[in-house]
Each structure stands twice: as C-alpha cells, then as structure tokens.
C-alpha cells in the first residue's frame, strides 16, 4: 500500500480497512527478554500471594533462576549463530537480534546476576531484632524515623518487591540495546527507568538521601525522556518512520526521490539535526556524559549501594548499546554532523569526570565521577565508527561492569554504626586492618585506573586503539591525560587504605555471606583474566561487532 493511498484513506476515512494481520513474533529469539518478563510477573504474584516470611527466598530463587535461564537462552542463541551468521530483525522490525545484542544481553544478565547477589546479602548489618536484614528499607511507605518504621523494622519486614522490580528493569535493559525502532527504544528506556527510580528510593539507611536521590533521578530522567521523545517525534517527522532501517535510508539519501509526499520534511535537515541531537541527549543522559551527567553523583550516592552497582554497570552497558546502534545503524550517513559534537562531549566527559573526582570525599561519589570519566573513554571508542570501535566498546563494557559491581560490593562491606562508612576518611588504614578487602579494592581501583594486567587496561587499550585507528588520535591524547588525572584519585584511595594509620573509631569490615563473596570474587577474577588473557573475550567482542540493518 503506497503512502498516497494511505493518505487518501486517512483523509476520507471511508472504505473497508484490510484485516489486521497477526504479527509474526519470533518467540525463541526473544526468549531472553520473555523469560525475564515472565519471571517478573511471577514475582509480582509471589508478592501478592506468598506469606511474608517465604518471600525473600522465593524471590531470590526466582530472580536468580530467571537470570540464569535468560542467560542460557542468550548463550543458546549465540551458539545457534544468531550473533554472527543468522542475524535478523525480529518482532516485526522492533528488535534486532545480532552480535551486539546478544553480547550486551549476556553482559547485562551476568552483571545483573552478580548485582542480585549483592541485593540478596543479609549478613552485613549487625543483627537487629533477631532478623537478618538487607540493604533495603523495611517498609518504603513508612516515614523515616517514624513509629511506623520502627514497627516495620521490629517486625523484620523487608522490601522483597525489589526483585520483581529488578527483573522488570533487566527486561527493559535487555531490550534497550536491541531496539530497532525509536518507539521500542523509548518504551524500553521507560521500562527499565521506572523500576530504577523506585529502587533508588529504597535504601534502609540514610533514607532521606535515598528518597532525594530517587526524586532527582526521576525528575531529571523524565525530563530527559521528554527530550528523547520530542527528538523521536522530529525524527519521525523527518523520515516518516521510526524504524531504524528506514530512517537510515532516508538519512543516507538512498530513497530520497521515491516518495514525493515526504519531500517537504525530508528536505528539511533541521528536523533531522535537531531530532537526532535530542535523541542523542536522551541516551547520553543515561550514559552519564557531560553535561548530562549531573544526576550521577547524587543518585549513586543516595541509592542503596547494591542498586548503585547495578545501575552503574547494567544501565551503562544497555545505554551504550543503544547509543552504538543509533549511531552505527541510523546515523552513519550524517557522521560528519555528529562526530565533531561527540568529540566535544567525549573530551568534556573524560576531563570533567576525572577532574571533579579529584576533590571528592565520599567513596560512592568518587566512583560516580569515575564512572563519568569511564563513560568518556567508552565514548572515544564509540566515535571510531569502525567495527573495531564497536567490539572495543563491547569489550570495555563487559570489563567495566564487573569491576564496578565488585567495587560497590566492597563498599557495602565497610560499615560503622550509621551503616556504610562511605566517607573517605573512614577508609584510612583499611589495608592494615583488613588487608584482603583492601587488596581486593585496590585491584578494582587499579583496574579503574587502567594499570596493565587488569581488565581496565585491556579495555582502555582497546577503545583507544579503535579511536586512533578511526582517526581520533587527539582524543586518545586527551584520554591518556585524563587517565593520568583519574589515576591520581584512585591512587589517593590506595594511599589512604595502605599508608595511613587506622583510626581508633574506624569502621569495621563486615564478613559477608557467600553471595557477596561471589560477587566480589567474580569481579576480581574477571578483572584479572581480562587483564592477562583477554584474547578469548576480545574474539567474542569482535565477532559480535557487527550490527544488523
């Protein structure tokens, strides 16, 4: 049916409409998402019908099972060649099943799994009222400090809703990098954002900060998604479609002459430029790029630390996946327009994150700024616009997410009477008191700093190499300079831990359960393996480095 026909149909509103054809959905290829969504729904049912006492175990079990199953599905798809030879566009063009999708989904799932382990940790706080408690608020609706809250604590309530919320968020995250049209992009963004807003508000300690973080995250997130949506609207106006392939063709100019109806808008590059800028902004906000980064430190600090780790890892992975797909599939035709702008943003992000981090005094904020700087490094790889660029970014994301979750997991261990002792001064002399924990954290910090033989170095090397090969040598230079600046504050923490005398009233290091140990252990293993012998994973990333169109 030609566009003209549709047009007349719409204007006259008469005549019979063709039967709506049932959409053809490739359930097998969407299995990873469907499993998670299904589990999330089951989780809601569990919340509704299970007795309170049993919920925690049921939810944790369900969540872990869902993630593992979903990961198995991803592996199965990859094994079946959906990442390489059988790439395709599924769900009526809404979802792309290709290498980057599967790689990122796998990464997100693994990171989520590790994050869920830290969610489920219940041995950190001194046992109050005979109940093991986790990082989440006893009763979210209770006003902080109120009698209500005390009763909830006394009763040993926990917010087991976090698990279905997390599953919903994971489902959104899984779709986000796979989204193959702008509508799916927007919806999946909202699907993972909304649960995250809530998760941010659910910290057990320092609840005011937690709520503040949620409000800020929510308002700014909604603000940015409004921009994203307006961008989508403009883009739709320009191309007459929200499907990536179609837009890409229009941008390329390859179908310019086909459809006279669209001549008006398609000729109007302002729509394209403004629209793409606004969509970019929406994605850069999620990535945490300067100047759209300002929510990051506050939200990272206020959110419950396991959630912070989850956000910092999984959200970043998904958002970069979406950004990559947008830039590589939709907008390569106008890379002359967006590359200079992205250069500027990359430089600002690398330097801004690193510089502001220097004067931070809170470990979580420090890690937040560090994540901004790292976003800058990854952007350098994004800018390359080469297959190497894609695979280097994929590798970096994989490497980075485990370090991040591991680092935040360590943060949860260092506690004093007020909960987590996040002020840096409290970390003084940690190396003397708990050499092992400090050493592990030092490994993570060295990986952040990009010291060779850690995954951070391999990743950084990969993106810088891609950037240099893509002709962005100057970015590499800025990158190494900001790495040097960044090294300063990582090292400052190491100095503090190892070379300062412990304070008498310093924090204690909690002995966690096997869950957190696994999370941290996995972080260390991945950090070292990807540092020393990254070849296998690089292979994986480079095989996965091609987008389907």
């Amino acid at each position: 049916m030609s566009a003209t026909a549709v047009h007349s149909l719409w204007t006259t509103a008469a005549g019979p409409i063709d039967k709506i054809q049932a959409p053809d959905i490739e359930y097998a290829q969407l299995a990873p998402v469907l499993i998670v969504v299904g589990a999330a729904v089951v989780g809601l049912l569990v919340e509704a019908f299970m007795p309170r006492k049993a919920r925690y175990h049921a939810q944790v079990f369900l969540t872990v099972l869902a993630i593992v199953a979903s990961f198995a599905a991803v592996l199965g798809l990859a094994e079946a060649g959906y990442g390489t030879t059988k790439v395709r566009i599924a769900a009526m063009g809404a979802i792309a099943i290709d290498g980057p999708t599967l790689f990122l989904q796998g990464t997100i799932l693994l990171a989520s799994l590790v994050a869920v382990f830290t969610f489920a940790e219940r041995k950190l706080d001194p046992e109050t009222h005979g109940t093991k408690i986790d990082s989440f608020v006893a009763q979210a609706a209770a006003v902080p400090g109120s009698e209500n809250e005390k009763q909830a604590v006394k009763a040993g309530f926990t917010t087991t809703e976090v698990y279905p919320l997390t599953l919903f968020a994971i489902a959104g995250l899984l779709v986000f990098p796979a989204a193959n049209d702008l509508l799916t992009l927007f919806i999946s963004l909202e699907v993972f954002s909304l649960p995250l807003y809530l998760l941010c508000a659910l910290a057990r300690r320092k609840r005011l900060m937690s709520q503040e973080a949620a409000v800020k995250y929510f308002l700014l997130g909604a603000f940015s998604s409004a921009f994203l949506l307006f961008g989508i609207a403009l883009m739709y106006g320009y191309a007459g479609s929200v499907a990536y392939a179609r837009i890409a063709d229009v941008v390329d100019g390859s179908i310019r002459t086909i459809d006279p109806v669209l001549a008006d808008t398609m000729g109007n590059d302002a729509l394209l430029l403004i629209g793409s800028a606004m969509i970019l902004m929406g994605l850069l906000f999620k990535v945490g790029a300067v100047p759209f980064h300002m929510w990051t430190p506050d939200v990272y600090q206020g959110a419950p630390t396991p959630v912070t780790g989850f956000m910092a890892a999984a959200t970043k992975v998904a958002a970069f996946g979406a950004l990559l797909r947008l830039l590589y599939v939709v907008l390569p035709g106008m890379s002359w327009d967006w590359r200079p702008v992205m250069w500027g943003i990359t430089i600002a992000t690398m330097l801004g994150g690193a510089i502001v981090a220097i004067t931070q005094t809170d470990i979580k904020r420090l890690l937040a700024y560090s994540s901004i700087a790292h976003a800058g490094f990854i952007l350098a790889g994004v800018i390359a616009v080469t297959p190497e660029g894609v695979s280097s970014v994929l590798f970096y994301l994989g490497a980075y997410s485990f370090v991040t979750i591991g680092a935040f997991a360590v943060v949860t261990l260092v506690r004093d009477a007020g909960g987590e002792a996040t002020h840096l001064s409290k970390w003084a002399g940690l190396g003397r008191r708990s050499p092992l924990v400090a050493a592990v954290f030092a490994v993570f910090l060295l990986a952040f700093a990009g010291i060779p033989l850690t995954s951070g170095f391999s990743g950084k090397f990969a993106v810088f190499k891609a950037a240099a090969e893509g002709g962005a040598g100057a970015l590499v230079v800025v990158g190494v300079i900001s790495s040097a600046i960044a090294a300063f504050f990582y090292i400052r923490v190491i100095v503090l831990m190892f070379f300062s005398e412990p304070k008498a009233d310093g924090p204690t290091v909690a002995v966690p359960s096997v869950m957190t140990k696994m999370a941290i252990g996995m972080g260390v293993v991945v950090t070292v393996v990807l540092g020393v012998a990254p070849q296998y994973f690089l292979n994986l990333a480079s095989q996965a480095g091609v987008f389907v169109r």
Binding site: S224, A270, L273, I274, A277, L280, M281, W336, I345
Partner: protein, 633 residues
C-alpha cells in the same frame, strides 16, 4: 726481562691489598711487609736498570702487554707497560726514595695506631706512581695519575680527625680533578685526531695533523700537569697538603707525585715540539710558578709550607725547562731527580725536627736546634746547600743547566727566562737560608705546647736518620755524577732528544751569575735572620703588603674562597631553591591547579535538581546548535 715490569707494580699493589684488606692481624708486621715490598720493587727496578745498561742504546726500551683493557669500536686501550730510559729513571727514583721513606716512616709513625693503614696507603701510592710512569698509553697513564691522586688524598687526610687535614685532602683531590679535565680532553682529542692514544702511535704521527690541534692537545696536557704539579693557577692545594704526615710530604708532595706533570710534558715532547704556542704557555706557567712559589716560600713561617713553596718553585724550574723543548727536557728530568733527593731529605729533616719538637711546625718557635739534633742538622744542611745550588752539590749542576738552557732559548725570550731563573735562584737561596737559620741557628724560641710541656728536642731514631743520611748522599753527589761526562744527557737523549740551542752567553758566565745570585740571596737572609743583634721574633711581625699576601699564598686562596667556594655555595643553594620551587613547582603547580579547577567545577554540582536540569537543557541547546552549525559550516 720485560715480564718483570708488571712485578714492579704488583709488589706494592699486593702490599696495599694485604695491608688495607687484611685487617688487624697485620698490625704488627704491616710496616715491615710494606717496606719489604717497596724494596722489592726497587730491587726489580735496579735489576731492570742493570739489564738495560747491558743493551745497546736502540734496544733498551722494553714493552709488556698484559691484556686488552678496553675495546669498543676503534677505542683500544691495553694494560701494557713501556720501560725505557725515561721510565726507568722514574722507577728508580720512585721506588728508591719510596723505600727510604717507608723505612723512615717505621720510626716516624711508630706511635700511630693506624700505622698499618699508613703503609698500605704508601704502597698504594707506589703502585699507582709506578703505573703512571710505566704506562704505554695515555689512558693507562691517567689510571696511574688518578691513582696517585687517590693515594695523595688518603695520605694528606690521614689524620682525618683533624678537620683541616680532611679539608686539605679534599682540596687536593678537587684541584687535581680540574687538571684531570685537561688530561681527559687531551686523550679525547688524541682519539678523535689519531684514533689512538698510545704513546708510540700518537707521538709518531704528530706530523700528520695540524699545529692548532697539537696546540690544543698540548694545552690540555699542560692543564693536567698544572693540577698534579701544583703549577699556577692550580697550585693552591700543595701548601694545604702539608697537613699530611711528613713522610707523605717528602715522598708525594716533594719527590715524586708532584713531578708527574713534568714527566707528562717530557713524555709528550713530540707534541710540544710541534706546537710552539703550547710550549710558550708551558714556559710562562713554569716561570710564573717559579716566582710564585719562591715568594710564598719566603713568607711562610710553617717549615713545611716554606718547603712546599720551595717545591712549587723548583717544579716551576722543571716545567720551564720542559717548556723550552729539546733544549731543556733532559735538564728538567735531571733537576727532577736531584730535587727528589734533596727535597725528600729536607722534608725528612723537617719531619725529624717536628718529631723532636712536639710536632711544632712554626719556625719562629724553633731556633738553635743544631746542637740537639746533629744528624738532622747535617743532613738538612747538605740538602739546603744542594737546593740553593751550592757549587759542587747536586742542585748546583741541575739548576745551572736549566738556567743555561733558559738563556739558550735565545732571543728576548731567552733573556727574560734566563733572568727569571737567575732571580729565582737568588730567592731560593734567600728563603732556604731563612729556613736554615730560623730552625737550627739563633736563640731557642721554644714554646710550650697546648698541654704546657716545653719541647725536649732529641735526635730521631735510626730508622729515621738512616734514610736521611742516604738522601743526603744523593743530594751531594747525584748532580755531579750525572753531569760529569754528560752521563744523564746521554742516557736520556735517545728518548727525549736534545738540542743545545744557541746560548747568547757562555756557560761560565751563567755559572758565575748563578753563584752571584746565590750569594746575594744568602747574604740578605743572613742580614735579616742570622745576626745575633736582630733575633727572630716569635710572633710574626705584620710585614709588608707583599709579605702578608705571600703568607696567604698571594691571595689565591682568598680568590678561590670568594669566587669558587662562596660563589659555588650560592649557586648550589639557589639551584636547590630553583629545583624545589621552579622545576618541582611546575609539577606540583600543575597538580594544584588541576585540584583547584576540580574544586571550582565541583561547585557546579550544587545539589539542586533544577540546576542540573538547566545544565541538561543548556547542554541540549548547545548540542543542537553545534549540530546545526556543523551543517552550516
């Protein structure tokens, strides 16, 4: 025979190694061992000498290569020795006088608890000095050159608990190092010019390069010689070096080491012969030092420093002679040898006096010692007569030859040089007479020492007097032995060459003039210090400007202090400041400014969600504007 050459060095080197590393167990026999090994070296030297005498003139040089030392690209240096007439002369002087001084030291250092180490150092010195004169290339010579410098450093500073000794040792080493720059650069120039720095090839191919290059090499060698031989402008260390034990002053700072510069110039004669400009500078340096040392020697009240001034002056003679070219080389060496005898004798005598006078060195506190120390008096007296050139004694012959040679240089230059050497002879006579009179004649002016004991002068033990006697023999007879029948000239001529020049006046006239100068000097000294009517004051009078300046080494130390020491201190201190504030400051400043920037940027993160929204809104606006702008451009 040539295999023995290495043994010359090995014997004292072994002694040094054993004595310095062997530890306490050698305390009781160390001095004997050291002396024995020094004597061994002398005996081997004598054997080699005897062997050399049996050979024909052309066949006398021996060569021994031990092994290849450095071999990099074209840079080839061997540990190899060359023993010719010139070397053997030095070998005999060094090991002979060296052995005597070892013997002397047995007595002199008897009560020093570190005597073993002293002998170790002495042996080390002998080894290094022999290496210096036996080396067959300049780099190996440099090895020995620095080795004697080290030994000299260790021995001057032997009494390290005295800050003055430690300072003097350091100064000697440093000043010598300045000279070493010269030797280093000379070797480098030789290498870049000739591709080698072995004596034979370098001296043999002098004709193949330009005179300018040879002048440069010559001047650099001269700089080295100035350092080692205490010539102006690097003479300042020698006086201070008298802080060392007296045998050291005798051996190193009178007889042997300080003459190394003369050896260097004579050895490099071929270079200087082809570089008249360099020769001229050598002569000037010699002449200036001759006068400088003599003037300083006149003003010093410290017996050793007076003798040190004299040493400087006498070496000035030698350098001057060496600068004359073939006319003077032989006489420079001859004076060097005779000087070795009488100056060593004089120093040993001075040591003997100090030994008897509670280590007092101020001549104004001596007087009338001839009755108390007869052997010392006689041997010192013979040395005195020799140095002032009393006819018939060693110094007479050797110095006279130099004066003749100076005149024989010819022209105005010859006249000027001749006059200076004559004047020098007169001054020498003056200050040496002064020393003699103040020490052995006149009233007793003895003063109690720090603990209040008056000295009880006494003759020194046999171990000290015997070497003095032997040296006195040398002082008396060596010159005559060498000169009669031109023995020394014939001996060395094959190595150094000889040219009799064209003397404007006859040898007899020169000799007569010399004697007149000598008498003049002695008389003036007698008038000033010898008459009963005018006793020598115990406290030095203020004296004229010149006297005061001369007492302070003609203000050279003051110059050094103000310009080099003070200036250097200021320089280093300001550099430390610069390093801290500027070089490091830039680094720290960069860090601080990044930190400052961080502090300011941090303020943007003000906690208000709305301002974050502003940043996002603005960012988007910029993003859009930039994208549009990019298209427009």
């Amino acid at each position: 025979m040539e295999n023995l050459i290495a043994l010359l060095i090995a014997a004292p080197l072994l002694g040094a190694a054993v004595l310095l590393c062997g530890g306490r167990r050698f305390d009781r026999v160390g001095h004997l061992l050291g002396t024995a090994l020094a004597a061994t070296s002398f005996v081997i030297g004598a054997a080699l000498f005897a062997n050399m005498l049996t050979k024909s003139v052309d066949d006398r040089a021996l060569h021994q290569k031990l092994f290849n030392w450095i071999d990099v690209g074209g840079f080839q240096a061997d540990i190899a020795f060359q023993l010719d007439q010139l070397s053997i002369t030095f070998v005999l002087l060094i090991s002979g006088v060296g052995t005597l001084i070892h013997v002397y030291s047995i007595g002199y250092m008897e009560h020093d608890e570190r005597r073993r180490r002293f002998f170790g150092y002495l042996n080390l010195f002998l080894a290094a000095m022999l290496l210096l004169v036996l080396a067959d290339n300049y780099l190996l010579l440099y090895f020995g050159w620095e080795g004697v410098g080290l030994a000299s450093y260790l021995l001057i500073g032997f009494w390290q608990h005295k800050p003055s000794a430690a300072t003097a040792a350091k100064k000697a080493f440093l000043v010598n190092r300045v000279g070493d720059i010269g030797l280093s650069i000379a070797i480098m120039l030789m290498f870049t010019t000739f591709g080698t720095f072995a004596f034979g090839p370098v001296l043999g191919s002098v004709g193949e390069t330009s005179e300018g290059m040879l002048t440069a090499i010559g001047l650099m060698l001269l700089l080295a010689a100035c350092g080692k031989s205490a010539q102006v402008p690097l003479q300042s260390w020698l006086g201070d070096a008298m802080e060392g034990p007296t045998p050291v002053s005798a051996l190193i700072h009178a007889a042997t080491m300080v003459t190394a510069g003369v050896y260097l110039i004579v050895r490099s004669g071929a270079i200087f012969n082809a570089a008249p400009d360099a020769q001229l500078v050598v002569v000037i340096v010699g002449a200036v030092t001759l006068m400088f040392g003599a003037i300083v020697g006149c003003a010093k009240d410290d017996i050793k420093k007076a003798l040190a001034g004299s040493t400087m002056s006498q070496i000035g003679y030698m350098i001057l002679a060496a600068g004359l070219g073939p006319i003077g080389y032989v006489f420079a060496i001859m004076h060097l040898v005779t000087h070795g005898f009488f100056k060593a004798g004089l120093f040993l005598g001075a040591g003997s006096v100090m030994h008897g006078m509670n280590d007092e060195v101020d001549m104004r506190k001596y007087g009338g010692l001839r009755k108390y120390m007869p052997v010392t008096f006689v041997t010192f007296g013979l040395g005195y007569l020799a140095i002032i050139g009393f006819p018939g004694l060693s110094g007479f012959f050797s110095k006279d030859m130099i004066i003749e040679a100076a005149f024989a240089k010819g022209g105005t230059e010859g006249w000027i040089l001749g006059s200076i050497t004559l004047l020098g002879a007169a001054i020498t006579a003056f200050y040496m007479t002064r020393v003699m009179l103040m020490t052995f004649f006149g009233e007793k002016r003895w003063q109690p020492d720090a603990e209040g004991h008056l000295p009880h002068p006494h003759e020194s033990p046999k171990s000290m007097t015997i070497p003095m006697i032997i040296l006195a023999f040398g002082s008396v007879f060596a010159g005559g032995f060498f000169s009669i029948g031109d023995r020394f000239l014939n001996w060395l001529e094959p190595v150094t060459g000889w040219d009799h020049g064209h003397a404007p006046i006859s040898a007899t006239t020169v000799t007569a003039a010399t004697v007149v100068a000598l008498l003049l000097g002695v008389s003036i000294a007698w008038v000033m210090y010898g008459r009963k009517a005018r006793p020598v004051p115990v406290v030095a009078p203020r004296g004229s400007v010149l006297t005061r300046a001369a007492r302070r080494d003609l203000l050279q130390d003051d110059f050094n202090h103000v310009v080099l020491v003070r200036g250097g201190e200021h320089l280093t201190r300001s550099l430390v400041y610069v390093d801290h504030t500027l070089v490091d400051g830039v680094v720290n400043g960069t860090a601080a400014s990044v930190g400052g920037l961080s502090g300011r940027l941090r303020k943007l993160q003000n906690g208000y969600a709305r301002s974050y929204a502003v940043s996002m809104f603005g960012g988007t606006a910029v993003l859009i504007a930039a994208t549009l702008l990019m298209r427009a451009v």
